[in-house]
């Protein structure tokens, strides 16, 4: 186990080196055409990265949640077209916390919101029916993990993808977000450990997206600085125009902001209660993504609109992630409700102390 409050620098270095080698512009573009990226996934899986933060005893790779989120940040930075969060800190976590086996291959998870699923328990059998929407990479997954609330308890269904019907659909980034139909699929009942329920899953989903987004915004900002320093118009690099510099500053500010909130939320989540930090991190990442994509596209001119240039791999992912596990309205409302429920005198302690300070 690494020190839980610090990311093991080897994690960042190894993940970054891996993706730098195998996840360049062409590879990401190709994954979009094919709807999968087996080479990238296999190399990633070989390192054990997908299962970081899951106990070795449960079949994981060990390490802290902080390490796992750092891996996700690097995944986002390289726009890696793989279900890293789904297999690890979301699906893998749900499986491990319901005492189920981790499969060797890709795992995906039905995200919160939108889906209409029914579960019923009879004896030690759980039956799942209905339609799940926007399931990441379902078409290439080995198992689909479905968290459900049945008769007041949270259960986790681990469903063989062969037992359901997958209808391909893609998000703005050209990544699979499939529609999955379950028609009376039977699996063993597997209740979760206490404290792990749909609400906890929703927050963990938001945390995963905040980490991915922080990475993507950072890369986008770096690309923009380097492009505008190379691009010459009117006899000088366009980065010399103040109007362009303003875009560069927005991009850099938002990269720093998104990374800071994602890391704060990760640290708190690693420690314990972190709802306030996660909600704030996702909302801030959403807003930073909107501003930064706008600024970075504008500074690139027409070049950024072409598929030949990599900016769109990042911007389109950011627009999609912004909508997953809670859009702006959802988290704004949640934060507003919490602030109001704590009362005026508790507002400042809430902001400075975060989740540890509210009841």
């Amino acid at each position: 186990m690494t020190d839980p409050v610090h990311v093991d620098p080897l994690v960042t270095e190894t993940a970054d080196r891996l993706f730098s080698e195998i996840c360049g512009h062409e590879a990401v573009q190709l994954a979009e055409t094919r709807g999968e990226a087996p080479e990238i996934w296999n190399a990633f899986a070989d390192t054990g990265f997908p299962w970081v933060s899951i106990d070795e005893a449960a079949g994981g790779s060990g390490g802290s949640l902080l390490d796992a989120l750092e891996v996700l940040r690097v995944v986002g930075y390289h726009a890696a077209p793989i279900p890293a969060a789904e297999t690890g800190i979301l699906g893998g976590w749900l499986l491990a916390s319901s005492g189920q086996e981790l499969p060797a291959g890709i795992v995906t998870v039905v995200p919160n919101g939108g889906s209409e699923l029914r579960g019923s328990v009879s004896g030690d059998e759980l039956t799942v029916s209905g339609r799940a929407l926007r399931v990441p990479w379902a078409r290439v997954a080995e198992r689909i993990v479905v968290p459900l609330e049945v008769d007041g308890q949270t259960v986790v269904a681990s469903i063989d993808v062969e037992d359901c019907h997958v209808e391909p659909m893609t998000n703005m980034a050209g990544e699979p977000r499939d529609t999955v139909d379950f028609d009376e699929v039977h699996v063993p009942v597997a209740p979760t450990e206490s404290g792990i329920d749909l609400e906890a899953f929703r927050f963990r989903g938001a945390l995963s997206r905040a980490a991915l987004m922080a990475g993507a915004i950072e890369k986008m900002s770096q690309l923009t600085v380097s492009y505008t320093n190379d691009r010459v118009q009117f006899g000088r690099p366009v980065a010399k125009f103040q109007a362009v510099q303003q875009h560069l500053v927005w991009g850099a500010q938002d990269a720093a902001l998104a990374r800071m909130v994602a890391e704060t939320a990760a640290r708190e989540a690693n420690r314990g209660a972190a709802q306030f930090e996660i909600a704030a991190a996702k909302l801030i990442a959403n807003q930073a993504a909107a501003r930064a994509t706008k600024a970075c596209h504008q500074a690139h001119g027409a070049m950024g609109m072409t598929q030949e240039y990599p900016l769109h791999h990042l911007s389109r992912r950011l627009w999609s992630w912004r909508k997953e596990y809670g859009g702006d309205a959802e988290w704004t409302k949640w934060l507003g409700k919490v602030a109001v429920s704590q009362g005026a005198d508790q507002l400042y302690p809430l902001i400075t102390g975060g989740s540890a300070n509210f009841n």
């Binding site: 926007r134 998000n171 703005m172 010459v232 009117f234 109007a243 596209h297 389109r316 909508k323």
Partner: protein, 398 residues
């Protein structure tokens, strides 16, 4: 034709066009279908009455309409089905008006009517890899050889090139002159030997945008538009029309008669499962922006028609219409929630197209530079290369 009332115009249009109902929706510029037929048959239907380009001379497919009559026709046209005219927009909105200013009468006779009738499609070959905002830096060269010009070089981001019969093409004819001076404008048939088109894919998967490589193509001198060395002036006219939005008549998303709400608000209402105060505020802001923007553009267009050519006001119009488009697509996509990130989601294409609106036709920054200098009279940008021969200034940073 004498000036008709709205009632009379409506009666005439009823003979040739279908009325639009509230459900007719627009496609997104350039990200629509590849179907040229709908636009073509609409233009063929309207050309004899001069209904689509009323201000053009009657012999060229217009009806010599005054600015006010033109505006009246525009209002009535909104009640009818007007297909997406994106493929035809360069000819109708930019090249046509520029030919009326800079073309000779033979050129007007040859090119205007086929533009108005939808028979010929034009594209705009201005931008090059090294000439985006700095358009005067074009390098594509044209060298005179008797009655012909030999043309070579590369253009890029040429929308509609694969459909086009003709291009309006800015070329360098005298590299020894400072960059704005040695340019000349040509019409270039896309079918000419030595013209090769390579499609570029945009991130919204639109492939209507290309690189065009020209190698030894022979362009006739009678296809030259304006005098030798006057290319920059012609280009400015074309761009002023582009910015003023001349190409976008038709399919306007305004209020059809009897319809209180614009269709985008009707759509939004259908999407919103909760119409909070914050949401209403955004809708109303956008509606107000659109309305004032439409009136301002109308006033600028009227001024432009009476003065003969659009001025810098077009830059303001462009900035406003971009803001409308972006605001609308943003709100639609946000309102549609997580579903909006899917290929079949509301506002999906618009979200991925929105950034390009602030780039195509001159970036927002360039429009503001124009407004700053030409409307507000602020000090100009430093222009280090103004009096340097282009052949020297292009060699490096100065």
């Amino acid at each position: 034709m004498s000036e008709l009332s709205e009632e009379q115009i409506r009666a005439e249009l009823d003979l040739i066009l279908e009325r639009r109902n509230a459900d007719t929706r627009l496609t997104t510029m350039g990200a629509g279908s590849d179907d040229l037929n709908e636009g073509r048959s609409y233009l063929a239907n309207t050309v004899n009455g001069g209904w689509h380009v009323p201000t053009w001379p009657e012999e060229h497919g217009g009806q010599d309409a005054s600015a006010s009559h033109n505006a009246r026709i525009g209002r009535v046209l909104r009640e009818f089905v007007v297909p997406d005219l994106y493929p035809f927009a360069i000819g109708l909105g930019m090249v046509g008006p520029a030919l009326l200013t800079h073309g000779n009468s033979a050129q007007q006779r040859e090119w205007l009517k086929p533009i108005a009738s939808g028979e010929s499609i034009w594209c705009q070959m201005f931008s090059e890899p090294e000439a985006g905002s700095d358009l005067a830096n074009v390098a594509l060269s044209a060298q005179q050889d008797g009655e012909e010009w030999i043309v070579g070089g590369q253009k890029t981001w040429t929308s509609r090139a694969m459909w086009a019969d003709w291009a309006i093409c800015l070329a360098r004819t005298d590299p020894g002159q400072p960059k704005h001076k040695g340019l000349t404008m040509f019409a270039l048939p896309m079918s000419l030997d030595g013209v090769e088109i390579r499609p570029l894919m945009q991130m919204n998967r639109d492939a209507h945008f290309s690189e065009v490589f020209v190698d030894g193509a022979r362009v006739l001198d009678r296809w030259r538009i304006g005098d030798i060395g006057e290319g920059w002036r012609v280009a400015m006219t074309v761009l002023a029309h582009e910015r003023a939005g001349g190409g976008s008549r038709g399919g306007g998303d305004g209020n059809a008669r009897g319809l209180k709400l614009p269709s985008w608000i009707v759509d939004l209402q259908g999407l919103a499962n909760e119409q909070s105060g914050a949401w209403r505020n955004q809708v109303a802001n956008l509606y107000a922006h659109d309305a004032t923007s439409r009136w301002t553009s109308q006033r600028a267009a009227d001024e432009a028609r009476s003065s003969g050519s659009p001025g810098p006001a077009g830059s303001g119009a462009k900035l406003r219409s971009v803001k409308s488009y972006k605001g609308r697509s943003y709100l639609t996509n946000m309102t549609s929630g997580a579903h909006g990130m899917l290929e079949d989601g509301h506002g999906y294409i618009e979200t991925m197209t929105a950034p390009s609106m602030s780039i195509r036709g001159g970036t927002d920054e360039i429009q503001r530079n124009i407004l700053g200098e030409r409307v507000l009279g602020l000090p100009g940008e430093p222009r280090l290369d103004r009096d340097v021969p282009w052949s020297e200034s292009r060699r490096g940073l100065i």
